[in-house]
Structure formats: structure tokens, C-alpha cells
Symmetry: C2
Subunit: 180 residues, 2 copies
């Protein structure tokens, strides 16, 4: 049933879903939330899309949605088993969430979500890369906060795997190489 | 000096700025961050602006920026003394932050920021109201988590002061009246 407030209250849950990778791999006790991560990713999408002359409105919307399913499924990590099952669960969760919205919005946002997951536009490709660069910015922040490089290096390497854009790779490198 | 990475690292600080009102008035130990709050506000702006046929791109950008100065100034509460001084400090901080961006973006975003603070467009007025409604959603969430209504009521009342739109007022009322 359409219920905007329920939609917002579901999204509010992302404030309390912690990004698990830092807990299990780096032993960060109170890492940032999925909402924290989504905020910075959206802001980065705005700036980089505007700078490149892409459709920043589209990129930012994709970023605001990109982890919304985790309000139901919780955070998962790239190396979790049964990746395909996760994808199905995520798609189901996303459908359940979008069903709270009026028909027109539901259909528009579902289209955007498909565009994002299938990486079928320049904006979608950008959001995927900035999702990774955001993680590297956070890794650099944990480095500054005193966590060991030997634990954080895997995050920089994983980010590198997901970034092709030269400008973004340059930023990634300076994050990786920065002194503690 | 223009430095996109520094801009992003500054914005990253919002993950660690806690929303102080809940700590001092409700004794919440680990409240949501300013980035958490900005995430949900931006998402709400997207949905409501799209629903009302307003410029959602503009509204979302304003929401992503609306508390960015707090990465430098920290969070402040509506009743803090010397409100005017805070405003000046906020404007200075915002200038410092936007100076990290290339000239064209700096000027575009500064214009948006002025539009937001002066409430000189329908989108700006909407963002101010959703900033308040977001707080009420969070108050309702703390109510569910067991914090007392006698402590939370002031947040619903403060939200009511800032909301004029009928649809949003209706949502606020159902948040306020919901059983624990």
C-alpha cells in the first residue's frame, strides 16, 4: 500500500545499519552507517557528474537509492557467499520498498534502479565507481584514526578493481599513498 | 586551492558530527550523524519534490549542502545563543569549503546555497520543511527505541513550527500521535 511515511521510516533504518566490512576486517567498533556512506556517495556523484557535464540529477538519485535495499537485507560484503541469492533478495527488497511510493514515482525510480544495476548509462557507471572511491576515502580516514595500513590495504585494492576513470584513479592513488 | 579530494574529505567529517539535540535533551548516547540526517533529508526532498512536480535536482542538491558547514563548525541547536554569530560562522565555513571546488561549480553551488538560506524558491522552502520533518521521523524512531515522549515532544513541536505544507503537516501529526 502506498505510504510515503513508511517509505521514509524504512530509509531511516539505514542510519542504524553499520558498514560491516570495517567491523569484520579492521575491527572498527563504531564504523559509519550505510546512510553515512550513501550521503557522501551522493555528494560525490553531484560534484563529479556536474564537473563532467553528465546528468547529475540522475547520478545523485541513483546514489541515494543504491544501498536502500539494505534497510531490509542489512549490509553485505563483496566476498559474502551466495552472491546471486543476495542479488535476488536485494531486488525483492527494493520492490517492497518502492511499492510504498505512488505509481508514477515507483515506475520512474524502478527504471533508474535497473539502469544503475545494469550499468547501462554513463551516470550508472560513474555511481558504481564513486561507491568505491567513497570507500577509499573512508579507508584513508580510518588510517588517520590509527587503524593499520596492513588491514586497510585490501579496501584500496578492492576500490582499484572498480575504478577505471583516470581522474578518479588519481584520487584513489593519492588516498592510498598518503602518509598516516 | 582547488582540491576535490579535500572537499570530499571535509564532507566525510559529517559522519562523525553527532546531532547534538538528542544527546543534550534526550540523553541518546549514540545519535545519528549529520551525514545520516542529510541523507534522509535529501531522499525525502527527491520524493516530495518529484511528487509535487518541483525541481527535485535543485532540492536534493540543497539538501546535500544544507548542513555541510557543520563539518567545520560542528552541530548547533536552534536555541543556541548568539544565533547571528553562528550564521556568520556558517557562511564563512561554507565559503571555505566551496573554495575547494573548480570555479564554475563553486559559483553554481554558492548560488544554490544562497537560494536555500534566503528561502527564495519553492524548492528552498520545501527543503527547510523537510529538514524539520526528518527530525520528527527521527524523534518517532527514538520513541520506538524506548525514549520518553515527555523528552521527545519538544522535537515534534519544533518541527510543527517549521512546517506549513498540509501534506507534510499530516505526516508530522501521524508521527506525533503514533503509539510507542
Amino acid at each position: 500500500m502506498v505510504d510515503l511515511l513508511e517509505f521514509f521510516e524504512l530509509a531511516n533504518e539505514l542510519k542504524w545499519v553499520k558498514r560491516r566490512g570495517w567491523i569484520t576486517k579492521v575491527k572498527v567498533k563504531q564504523p559509519e552507517s550505510v546512510a553515512d556512506h550513501s550521503y557522501l556517495t551522493a555528494l560525490m556523484c553531484m560534484v563529479i557528474a556536474d564537473k563532467k557535464g553528465l546528468n547529475s540529477s540522475k547520478a545523485v538519485k541513483m546514489a541515494l537509492f543504491h544501498d536502500l535495499a539494505e534497510s531490509i537485507t542489512g549490509d553485505h560484503m563483496p566476498n559474502d557467499p551466495a552472491k546471486e541469492m543476495k542479488k535476488t533478495k536485494e531486488a525483492e527488497a527494493m520492490k517492497r520498498i518502492l511499492n510504498k511510493l505512488p505509481l508514477k514515482l515507483r515506475s520512474d525510480y524502478h527504471k533508474l534502479w535497473k539502469e544503475y544495476t545494469s550499468m547501462s548509462s554513463k551516470e550508472a557507471v560513474l555511481v558504481h565507481q564513486l561507491d568505491k572511491l567513497e570507500m577509499a576515502i573512508q579507508a584513508r580516514d580510518y588510517r588517520k584514526k590509527g587503524y593499520g595500513y596492513h588491514l586497510l590495504e585490501q579496501f584500496f585494492l578492492s576500490a582499484k578493481d572498480g575504478i577505471e576513470d583516470k581522474e578518479l584513479l588519481k584520487m584513489l592513488n593519492s588516498l592510498k599513498q598518503a602518509k598516516a
